[in-house]
Amino acid sequence: MCEPQNSSQLVEHFFRQEAGRMASVLTCWLGFGRLGLAEDIVQDTLMQALHAWPAQGIPDNPRAWLYRVAKNRALDVLRREKQLRHVGDDQLSEFTETDAPDMERLFFDDELNDSQLRMLFACCHPALSAEAQQAMCLKILCGLSVREIAHAFLTAPDTIEKRLYRAKERIRQNNIELAVPAGVSLTSRLNSVLRSVYLLFNEGYASHQPDELIRYDLCAEALRLARLLTEHPRTSVPATYALLALLCFQAARFKARHTSTDDIILLAHQDRSLWDRDLIDRGQYYLNRAATGNQLTDYHLEAAIAACHSMAPTYETTNWPQILHYYDLLLVCKPSPVVALNRAVALARVAGPLQALADVTNLTGLDHSQYYHAVLGDLYAENQQPEPARHHYRRAQQLTFSLAEKTLLERKVASL
């Protein structure tokens, strides 16, 4: 028996992040068909750490400790399979002890990132639906449990379980490879990965989830995956930097968006001293890195808009004409009524609510969006038309499931 050292604390989310790393490495090694086995080995390894570390103190290099245990477990499994094969089951793949040195290599940093990227591309394969892609990323790469994912998506664990099962089947049926694509297919595949990371972040950033912690976790994981993409020569393209910049700018405002009682604080009323300067600086840095080549993606434009906000000392002194200009460009590369709706908010600041109203009332397909009605409410209110404003606020209230949004709209109605 040994004295527990006055063990230094583990970095926050250490287990979760290492779970994702180990699952990726093991799956690359064992093959996608044995993803479930890889996940079991990870779970066992962490359980062993949970039992051993409080007694022995946290090891000097906790990550190396975990990888050693995981590696040994994987080798045990393979040895057992080899013995079984002698009995006649030749369905199992032909791993041998001589594969072990490769395993050591797999846990080096470069290879680690590589395994995770390969897993990211597999999880974000276009054959999977967007929601399946996100569930796969969260489960395998981010080390979230089914329960936690269900909580994040406001659904039952069973639903997530089925979604994951179907996604894994799909991956098997389509023979989706664990590889970072190259050549012509890289661009389209990378677009799909970037989109999934973007949507993952959005899921966390939307205010319909009552539990702030899990929302923040989703955003943090999306940031981590985006960063991972900037660390590989094949995926560190301008669009990736632009996406990472956008996520940094948005995440910087996280703490200013809610009161302690979970009421929403809108941009105009946020305490800007609560914005995370470090994240804003990082966003600026990545946006500069994104400004190479001749590619202007919607991530560039959205990041540029977010940058304008993050640099403005107050809501009133925000460079609205610049933001409106970016929205005009965005509308060209991503023509959607949602973008047009957001553009109208900027237009109202530049040209007044009447002109914005003219634009918004011409939009179609948004009648079931609470944000469409909330914007209309705001514009009518600003234009001194309390009756239509009230009507649209009420409509928005009916459309949202979020208590915080209902409360906010109630406050707006009361102030008419």
Partner: protein
């Protein structure tokens, strides 16, 4: 000062639910806090965790089975050895042991002091 062994009995129902990595890290943090508390009082001698598997050798035929380790399928997750003057004091030291929050149990047993009989 006498020595006591604290034996940690996991709650089978609680261990059946697989905790997430995040939950495991939080759980470990609780154990670290509790053990550091014992050490700070100078009561702590040592502790070890046990793997959740093993074999049981039984009877004159030395029959080897996979368990259960004790009747009722409960699993001993580990043990700690502490200093205390009395059994009551040793029992008091279990306060804050994370296993209790999961409806597990801590068995407190005095370790025989042979010098006492010498």
């Amino acid at each position: 000062m006498e020595k006591f062994m604290l034996i940690f009995h996991d709650n089978a129902a609680a261990t059946a639910i697989q905790p997430s990595p995040e939950e495991m890290q939080a759980e470990m943090q609780k154990w670290n806090v509790w053990i550091a508390g014992l050490a700070a009082q100078g009561k702590f001698i040592g502790t070890e965790g046990l793997m959740p598997f093993g074999k049981v050798v039984r009877g004159q035929e030395s029959i080897v089975t996979d368990g259960p380790f004790t009747e009722g399928k409960e699993i001993i997750g580990g043990y700690a050895v502490v200093n205390a003057d009395t059994l009551d004091e040793a029992i008091g030291l279990t306060a804050g042991c994370p296993i209790l929050a999961d409806n597990g149990a801590v068995e407190v047993r005095p370790i025989i002091n042979f010098e006492q009989f010498a």
